[in-house]
């Protein structure tokens, strides 16, 4: 059992808030990712869990045991928290061999030489580095160093893994491989894992739950699908997904007893909505609202279709498995579209698109808060 609870965590650096009023609960055996742009407070949050930073107020509780509480006068130092942490730089000790890097902490635990040796071999086997046991970190590649850091962490058998952008120093190919390995590691060990990254793809692939942060505030916590399909506010909607989600400013309208979202020639029907919903929506949106739709959710046709919107292609960016199109409507709204594989559509071609109301979310333009989602 290893669950983590952060209560009302506040932390400022010389007056500038890094984390404000953070409340977060991480369940046992879960893989939770803290996702956000640089400076959003995600690394600070991780370091607060590790004990390397002291919050100004709030409580850190692990397995029901208070690790930090200024109010109650409790501080458990990092060296007593028994957590595992992988740093972005790996933080391997450069003057020690792989063996020594792993065994140093074990020597501290009053284990026999034999036991230590067994553990070192066991963890190195797990990360497939047995033959590198007597190398120095500088003699290993980036990916191998990363695996030594993993081996060093699991050797101490912590029940919680903390990882601070562990893959960001690797090249793109290796990153994909290591992603799979980290997921397997989590699966095999069953350790509760808190993972910090700014890479939304990493977050989506690895996590049980994603906590999106911005400016020291937890914006939303949810499963990858929830985060992707039902972002609670515009920041989350725009931060997750590539290419960036399309957002269209517009207003509510009612015509022939049906409700619409309107922006000049763009008009999408709001499905399953009655008058009372509508008045609630109007109140929530305060008049103006923003519709969002993922690029892959927009239908594309080279020929005119009834009800579809005519647009002009402004750029075509093929990427092998997919092609990203940028188009512009007559009313000067720019949209991104995603098509599978390659296409013969060219710049300045006229194509027709369909903004599927069943894939559209609506936000209050002023507050950026979600007011209506297709994903329940």
């Amino acid at each position: 059992m290893s669950w983590i609870e952060l209560k009302n965590i506040k932390k400022t650096y010389s007056g500038a808030p890094a984390v404000r009023e953070l409340n977060l609960k991480i369940e046992d055996k879960q893989f939770v990712t803290l996702l956000g742009p640089s400076g959003c407070g995600k690394t600070t949050t991780l370091r607060i869990i590790a004990g390397l930073e002291e919050p100004d107020s709030g409580e850190v509780i692990v397995d029901g045991k208070i690790f930090f509480s200024r109010e109650k006068g409790i501080f458990v130092p990092p060296e007593k928290r028994r957590l595992g942490l992988i740093f972005q730089s790996y933080a391997l000790w450069p003057h020690m061999t792989v063996r020594k890097n792993i065994s140093l902490a074990l020597e501290q635990m009053h284990l026999s030489k034999e036991e230590i040796d067994n553990i070192v071999h066991e963890v190195l086997e797990k990360v497939q580095l047995s033959e590198y046991i007597d190398r120095y970190p500088s003699e290993l590649s980036g990916g191998q160093q990363q695996r030594v850091a993993v081996a060093r962490m699991i050797a101490a058998k912590p029940s919680i893994f903390l990882m601070d952008e562990p893959l960001s120093n690797l090249d793109a190919m290796l990153r994909v491989d290591m992603r799979a390995e980290l997921k397997k590691l989590h699966h095999d060990s069953g350790a509760t894992t808190v993972y910090v990254t700014h890479d939304q793809v990493e977050a989506l692939t690895l996590s049980d739950k994603i906590a999106v942060m911005n400016n020291g505030v937890l914006k939303q916590i949810g499963t990858p699908e929830e985060i992707y399909k039902r972002p609670e506010d515009l920041f989350v909607a725009r931060f997750v997904g590539s290419p960036r989600i399309n957002s269209i400013e517009g207003s509510l309208a009612k015509k022939d007893g049906r409700f619409f979202f309107e922006r000049e020639e763009i008009r999408t029907a709001l499905s399953e909505i009655d008058d009372s919903d509508m008045s609630r929506l109007e109140k929530l949106s305060e008049g103006k609202l923003i519709a969002t739709i993922r690029p892959e959710d927009i239908g594309v046709s080279k020929t005119a279709k009834p009800g579809w919107l005519e647009v002009v292609v402004t750029s075509v960016l093929p990427a092998g498995s997919e092609t990203i199109l940028t188009v512009i409507t007559k009313g000067n709204v720019e949209l991104s579209l995603k098509m599978n594989g390659f296409t013969d559509i060219k710049r300045n071609d006229r194509i027709w698109i369909n903004i599927d109301p069943g894939k559209t979310n609506y936000y209050n333009e002023k507050t950026g808060k979600l007011i209506l989602s297709y994903f329940k």
Binding site: L52, G73, E79, L85, Q88, L104
Partner: protein
């Protein structure tokens, strides 16, 4: 309000939290201890100087003749020094002399240093590595070695003792201004201090990527414009630093002005302080010392402004880049030979003269029949040198060798560790007020003129002070003062060593459950070892050649080589003085060699940090 049970228990939890937290924050504990201890060792002397300068001293009673006033507040010393008939002799003249020495030495040292640095770093000069390693040797010698050699050559009959070589061999009597006073002081100190400028400027030049200059040339700048607009601004901070360092040091220097200035009553502020202290006129001495403190403070302020600018250039170092050399063309070998000649004059010739001189029975007689080994291995002979036995048979000198080495090694070890601990405490807390005060207070001993600091410690530790027993006359006092005086340098090298270690290396050890002491021993110490060693050899060298700091504190049993040399020179026993100087230099060079040989050859790099 504050007394309600609730508020009291809140205060109690607060305290409990801080205590549990502090148990694991060795950096904060170290900071607090250091700030208190150094504050005591630095601020108490400063306050003491100020108090003494503002009260009547027993020396003044000869003039005042009113014993009741002893120790009471007065501006008497300030009036005497700043506005009395003595002002010109005590303050104005020494002050002007100090400034002249300061400017003269700085100009000469910077000119030599930057020319040598440019030639060695940025041109296709031959034998560069040889030059680069040998050019800093003058740094290892006491600054007054060249002054001793100067006296051998250019001494005239102004003072007692034999004539110089020039008179004896060529019959030329050099004029007073050439033999003593300002001119030789500037030359001798300039030949010593150029090594500082060289180290700083060559370090900066090495970081100038020639691609930056090429980019300037491509952008259409003329050669002179490239130098002025690109190279110069990058080297400017180093030039500024070396100006401030050389100026403050040469202004406050004691040995050379004492040897070359006192015979013609040429005083600078340090020798004037020494003279006042010798007369037990503490009030005057301390006012003068305060003037030096203030001047050094101003210089440091200027330097910190300059170094603040330099930080923005530091990012350029570390990456290997091509450095295209300027071609000297047909001047390559002539320039190299000129540099060789310069090194000969600045370093080898003085040493050779000292060696030769120790083999002369009567100084000044250069005939073969006058050669003797008496001063090295002779037994005591009442007809020669007041019966002083030869250097190798002289228990006083052996005791001095032992004391010097002991002092050097102890100070090096203590300063080495202190430097690392201070570096750790400052770097881990970087940005906090505690860290800033520790950094400032570690740098404070720098502003004390050595001679004045010696005088204060003499007074401060003559009687038991709190838990500290009376230290006067003990060897511990010498170690203490040398350690304190060197803290600015060792803390700076400790800080830069610690800055090079990413804090995640320690943090990962924390999370792995290693307690502080183990983290220090297994991770921080091994990783900072090279900085630690270079800091140590630096302290060793400075401690071995220290004179003005300890000259007032030594007693017959605690004499070290430098004070023995000074005493011999004072008694006109020149051969002994020169011989002991040679032993001192030999020990320093051997020690440096051993450290470089066995602990990697990075150690001399540490010199660049001072």
């Amino acid at each position: 309000m504050a007394d309600t049970p609730l508020a009291r228990s809140a205060a109690f939890t607060k305290l409990k939290f801080q205590l549990t937290r502090l148990r694991y924050r060795t950096d904060i504990i170290l900071s607090i201890i250091f700030v208190i201890v150094f504050g005591f060792l630095v601020l108490v002397p400063l306050i003491k100087i100020i108090i003494v300068s503002l009260t009547y001293q027993s020396f003044d009673m000869r003039v005042i003749r009113d014993m009741k006033k002893l120790g009471t507040f007065t501006l008497y010393h300030y009036k005497r020094i700043f506005a009395s008939d003595f002002s010109y002799a005590i303050l104005v003249k020494p002050f002007i002399n100090s400034l002249l020495v300061g400017f003269g030495v700085t100009a000469m040292a910077m000119l030599l240093g930057s020319l040598l640095a440019w030639a060695i770093v940025r041109t296709d000069l031959p034998w560069k590595n040889f030059f680069d390693s040998i050019i800093v040797i003058p740094y290892m010698m006491p600054s007054w070695v060249i002054a001793l050699a100067w006296l051998i050559i250019f001494k005239n009959n102004r003072v007692a003792g034999e004539d110089g070589m020039l008179k004896i061999l060529f019959g030329i009597t050099p004029p007073d201004w050439f033999s003593y006073g300002l001119f030789p002081i500037i030359i001798c100190l300039g030949l010593h201090y150029y090594s500082y400028s060289y180290l700083l400027i060559s370090g900066a030049l090495k970081t100038v990527n020639s691609e930056l200059e090429e980019a300037g040339a491509i952008a259409g700048l003329k050669k002179w414009a490239v130098l002025r607009k690109i190279t110069f601004p990058i080297v400017l901070p180093a030039l500024g630093s070396s100006f401030v360092l050389t100026f403050t040091r040469s202004m406050g220097t004691f040995g050379t002005p004492a040897l070359l200035g006192l015979p013609v009553r040429f005083f600078n502020i340090p020798t004037q302080i020494y003279a006042s202290i010798s007369m037990r006129n503490m009030g005057d001495a301390y006012v003068l010392a305060l003037i030096l403190v203030v001047l050094a403070g101003i210089a440091i302020y200027i330097n910190s402004k300059i170094v603040g600018v330099r930080k923005s250039f530091v990012t350029m170092a570390g990456k290997g880049f091509k450095n295209r050399m300027n071609s000297l063309g047909s001047w390559r070998y002539p320039v190299a030979i000129i540099i060789l000649l310069f090194l000969f004059v600045a370093f080898l010739l003085p040493l050779l003269l000292l060696v030769w001189n120790t083999f002369l029975l009567l100084p000044g007689d250069y005939s073969i029949s006058n050669l003797t080994t008496h001063f090295w291995i002779g037994d005591s002979d009442y007809r020669i040198a007041s019966g002083e036995p030869g250097i190798f048979k002289n228990p006083g000198i052996w005791n001095g060798v032992w004391n010097s080495i002991r002092l050097g090694v102890l100070a090096a070890l203590i300063n080495g560790f202190l430097g690392l601990f201070i570096g750790y405490a400052v770097v881990r807390n970087r940005g906090t007020r505690l860290s800033k005060s520790l950094e400032a207070i570690s740098f404070a001993p720098y502003v004390f003129p050595s001679i004045a600091m010696g005088a204060i410690y003499l007074g401060m530790f003559a009687k038991p002070l709190g838990p500290i027993p009376a230290l006067y006359g003990t060897f511990s006092l010498l170690v203490l003062i040398v350690v304190v005086k060197n803290i600015p340098f060792s803390s700076r090298s400790g800080i830069s060593a610690m800055l090079q270690i990413d804090k995640s290396l320690e943090e990962s050890a924390r999370l792995q459950g290693l307690p502080w002491f183990k983290r220090f021993r297994k991770i921080l110490f091994p990783l900072t070892k090279s900085g630690f060693l270079s800091g140590m050899i630096l302290t060793f060298i400075t401690a071995m050649r220290e004179l003005s700091l300890i000259i007032l504190l030594v007693t017959p049993t605690t004499r070290v080589l430098t004070t023995i040399i000074f005493a011999y020179e004072d008694q006109e026993e020149v051969q002994h003085a020169n011989g002991v100087t040679l032993i001192l230099i030999t020990i320093i060079i051997i020690a440096n060699f051993i450290v470089r040989k066995f602990f990697g050859n990075k150690s001399l790099m540490g010199l660049k940090e001072s």
